[in-house]
């Protein structure tokens, strides 16, 4: 009996290793081209940034009235997308949903990558990046920026742990089985990173309880992260930002953006690594339903955010509402396109089973992600166009905001950096947790696999 069990375990593990570890050893031409083009975009962006450093932020479309533009919008977008790590692993995982096993690591990788580049977007927006250490030397804890810096770093730290700790058993497997398939340095790296994991029940016990603490801890940290980010706007007196629901409005919007990003990543990783046996139609169906759920919650906050001031039409709010709602308003077309393709259509289509198949889900995810970026622009920019006092005695360019080519290039560079980090992580580490899959298939994992 136990001999039979041992043999079947071996067979299952062999297949899992074959399926999940082999892609790590292969570097097909398509991967090289992909990395090469990301590096090219980043290089061009760095060149653009040096011009901005030399000549000042005047190289962007920002001016005294619209003094925050696509950099800050992108920052908010990155932080929003980064929240998906907490949504999938913590919120959905802690309530006992098992279907997240094959996608939780993808979500963690997205979370880590986007949280890391969020800081870069902020630095790109700074007039004096050379003085960034003033935040340490002269930091005022009363400023929401200090709250944000603190909590972003805390979130990155916990996200690294949430990515790394569940990797330990997998690293042990790689150390035991991949010595001849990997370059020496790489095997050595895994050997060191595995921290001597041998899979004793005691080790698993520590791992499980640590993960549980972290998964609970990351919920308030993630909430704090995006709430504080929303307060960068909501703590000012400006119409369009001066809102009491900005915290939950941002957090729920973040869940939608993150769900979209995971749908896109799931599709392409599954295709590239041929993981059809692991990330199945069932998982897309589940993710689709989750997307609809968080989308509906976000829609509810949207209705509150716009209907309440829209009903009262206080002078400054009325200007803001007109700019967004009227097709003659400066941001009317962008607003309705974003709300339609980034929220209303994804929710509606996601209600129907045929649209929750992998390919349509990927397309919907893509629309959500693009819409999420534009939504952040809509949150940040139009408010700044409406000052309380008339905008006079300044050049025409001060009245509006159009991002310059340089600004867009730098922004694309930061996006490319996030995608590059994800692309490297999925090559360096197994994208699906081997030991959790093995456990689900009934393999006895309490040993050196």
């Amino acid at each position: 009996m136990s001999e039979n069990k041992k043999q079947s375990d071996e067979a299952i593990m062999l297949k899992i290793r074959e399926d999940l570890l082999t892609p790590m050893t292969k570097f097909p031409l398509s991967y090289k081209i992909w990395i090469g083009s990301l590096l090219t975009i980043i290089a061009v962006a760095i060149w653009g940034y040096t011009i901005q450093l030399q000549n000042g932020l005047g190289e962007t479309g920002m001016r005294d009235y619209v003094s925050w533009g696509v950099y800050i919008a992108s920052f908010v977008f990155f932080v929003a997308t980064a929240l998906v790590g907490m949504l999938i692993s913590a919120v959905v995982g802690l309530v006992g949903q098992k279907w997240i096993t094959p996608i939780s690591r993808i979500a963690e990788m997205i979370a880590l990558a986007f949280a890391m580049v969020a800081g870069i977007a902020i630095v790109a927006d700074m007039g004096r990046p050379d003085r960034i250490l003033n935040l340490l030397f002269h930091g005022r804890f009363q400023s929401p920026i200090i709250w944000d810096v603190t909590v972003v770093n805390l979130y990155i730290f916990i996200s690294i742990l949430l990515l790394f700790l569940p990797l330990l058993p997998d690293l042990g497997i790689i150390r035991n089985h991949m010595k001849k398939d990997l370059p020496k340095w790489q095997w050595n790296m895994y050997n060191i990173l595995s921290l001597g994991w041998v899979g004793t029940p005691g080790q698993y016990k520590i791992l499980h309880s640590t993960l549980r603490v972290l998964l609970i801890l990351i919920v308030p940290v993630a909430m704090a992260l995006h709430t504080v980010t929303s307060w960068l706007s909501a703590l000012t007196l400006r119409a369009g930002w001066d809102s009491t629901i900005f915290g939950p409005y941002y957090v729920t919007g973040a869940f939608v953006a993150g769900a979209g990003a995971v749908l896109v990543a799931m599709y392409f990783i599954r295709k590239a690594y041929r993981l059809e046996d692991y990330i199945t139609d069932f998982h897309f169906d589940k993710m689709g339903k989750l997307m609809v759920l968080v989308g509906l919650v976000y829609l509810y906050f949207n209705i509150n955010e716009f209907l309440v001031p829209g009903y009262k039409m206080k002078a400054a709010d009325a200007d803001h509402i007109f700019t967004l709602f009227s097709l003659n308003g400066e941001y009317g077309v962008m607003f309705w396109l974003t709300q339609t393709f980034g929220l209303l259509l994804p929710i509606t289509l996601g209600l129907f089973k045929p649209f929750r198949k992998p390919f349509p889900m990927m397309l919907i995810g893509l629309a959500i992600v693009i819409g999420a970026w534009f939504k952040r622009v809509i949150i940040i920019v139009p408010t700044m166009i409406h000052a309380y006092l008339p905008i006079q005695n300044v050049p025409e360019s001060f009245h509006h905001y159009t991002p310059t080519g340089l600004e867009i290039t730098v922004t694309l560079g930061i996006v490319a950096m996030a995608v590059l980090i994800i692309s490297i992580l999925v090559k360096l580490f197994p994208v699906i947790s081997l030991w959790e899959i093995a456990e689900e298939k009934g393999v006895d994992i309490h040993k050196d696999l």
């Binding site: 005294d64 030397f137 002078a315 009325a318 005695n393 300044v394």
Partner: protein, 313 residues
């Protein structure tokens, strides 16, 4: 009364102490011959005490505070003062001498306004008037609250300043200010070559620096030497009153007449801008009643502007 004077006197003594130390330092350096190259004999000499107790004569032009001492005194502000401005909208004829005096003093570009004369109308059909708009130097300032590095702050004399040696250029203060009172140096400032060697004076915010925020300072450098702000002195029309709320006295920049602040405000039905936001401005407006001018359309649009359409449009 003596109670009031003591802290001031102490701070003046401290100030003198620091002053003599810095001069002593400068002397020590010049003793090594580094600064002696440009001494001319006909310059006025001042007797000074060095750190080792000798009396020497120094050129008057060398007696400058170093940056650190300037920064410290600029952050402290003037004891016992609470500066206020009163703007009589009935008097403003849009001469714009305030704007040009300000831009000249603070080395600003034409589109950078520490003070900006707006044409505005309270509600449709109530008639346009000219409204000079400096920084309101709020007592509940939304801008200093959000600064992550304490680069912008409120002094004990009520003035809100910006330290462009510390500002990181995040522009959160610009986003937070409902009066759009702040400007940014989007590129190299106007006189950046000429100003390259100037010691930074926070109370003048010169030299301006690329990538930092600039704003109205109530001409803190002029107040320190007992003069009225640049804009106030430059006005030919008697629009500005400036003074100290603790003394309950304000002086007109044109006529130099001094009146009781509380009477000026209450007799004329003074108001502040956007009081509903709770910022508690230090700048008061007297309503544009019995205007001393005729409003002429379009005469101030020198930066290629359209006619204003009233509030919020």
């Amino acid at each position: 009364m003596s109670k009031k004077i003591t802290p001031e006197a102490t701070s003046r003594r401290n100030f003198l102490k620091k002053f003599s130390i810095s001069v002593g330092g400068a002397t020590a350096v010049s003793g090594l011959g580094l600064l002696s190259s440009c001494v001319s004999d006909d310059e006025e000499k001042v007797p000074m005490l060095t750190t080792d107790g000798k009396v020497i004569n120094r050129d008057k032009s060398k007696l400058k505070l170093n940056l650190n001492e300037m920064q410290i005194r600029s952050r402290e502000g003037l004891s016992g003062k609470k500066f206020v401005m009163v703007i009589d909208l009935a008097k403003c004829k849009n001469a714009r001498k305030c704007m040009s005096a300000c831009q000249g003093a603070h080395h600003l570009k034409p589109e950078q306004h520490h003070i900006n004369v707006l044409q505005t109308e309270n509600a449709e059909g109530t008639g346009f008037y000219y409204q000079p708009k400096p920084c309101m130097h709020c007592d509940n300032p939304p801008c200093t609250k959000v600064c992550p590095v304490d680069a912008t702050f409120k002094r004990k004399d009520g003035i809100v300043l910006i330290d462009n040696e510390r500002c990181i250029g995040c522009r959160f203060c610009i986003a937070a200010c409902p009066y759009s009172a702040r400007v940014f140096n989007w590129s190299e400032p106007k006189y950046y070559e000429g100003d390259a060697n100037a010691v930074y004076d926070m109370e003048l915010n010169v030299p301006q620096k690329k990538g930092t925020v600039s704003k109205c300072l109530f001409s803190a450098d002029r107040l320190r030497i007992g003069k009225l702000p640049y804009c106030v002195s430059a006005c030919p029309n008697g629009t500005y009153w400036f003074g100290d709320a603790n003394e309950d006295a304000v002086t007109n920049g044109t006529s130099k007449e001094t009146v009781r602040l509380s009477s000026l405000l209450s007799d004329n039905g003074a108001y502040t801008l956007l009081p509903e936001l709770g910022t508690k401005p230090s700048v008061y407006y007297l309503p544009p009643k019995d205007r001393m001018f005729e409003y002429k359309e379009g005469e101030l649009n020198y930066l290629g502007e359209e006619e204003p359409k009233g509030h919020h449009s």
